[in-house]
Amino acid sequence: MDQASGQSERPQEQPQRPVAGDEAYRRQLEELQQVDFALVELNLYLDTHPTDLQALQQFNQLAQRSRHLRYDFEMRYGPMMNFGHSFSRFPWQWPETPWPWQV
């Protein structure tokens, strides 16, 4: 590939601007939903089995993984939680669509 064609192709190599609600959004959201579901399930299980060490370790590992996934998602699509549990860019992103029932 010569330099000229490399230059002309550069705009296509740029990562596309994230669009909330599109297919990539839904895919990344689903990844988070999967981990967070396992956390709900482990949480309820631990409520009645508080001394299951293996379940507790799994819970803490997944809690860590959920934080990473959530952080990546929020960097791309904006805050997922209100009242200071997520950061926002300017202007204030929280009211931006889509809301969950609009996805």
Partner: protein, 189 residues
Amino acid sequence: MWIYEKKLQYPVKVSKCDPMMAKFLREQYGGADGELSAALRYLNQRYTIPDRVIGLLTDIGTEEFAHLEMIATMVYKLTKDESAREMMLAGLGAHYANHDKALFYENAAGVPWTAAYIQAKGDPIADLYEDIAAEEKARATYQWLIDMTDDVDLQDSLKFLREREVIHSLRFREAVEIIKADREQKKIF
């Protein structure tokens, strides 16, 4: 304190508009054994339940609100592109006359939600048995709803909710055993 998460607990897809199914789904929105009843029942009972079970009632009560949002999403998606006439033909004429397409806490027959649907007896065994019964009734309702639609996307979300009722019932049964065991222990020592 509660924090809102801008996501559904599980994806809700519908493959077509179906206002009649939306009408039936209201049973799980504002019905006696629906998600609103469930959330309010558990979050109210937790103030007078033994400490060992408060966490479980808090967590299941909170999850029920996520399920309420999933039902609302189904109803919203199944009706959003329908005309007044289509709503009427689907049996939602009375609803439309009063609410347009707004959701309302009512059951499949249009009866408004009432606090009389839920109990708080102050007796942990009585309360937990009611909770177990409520989960089993909700599970049965989800099965009837699954049987009433041929929309596989909608069925998928309803099956998720049906399975959650099974788990909640199981956890409440375990809570009963925990409370019984605690009582036995107090008698011995």
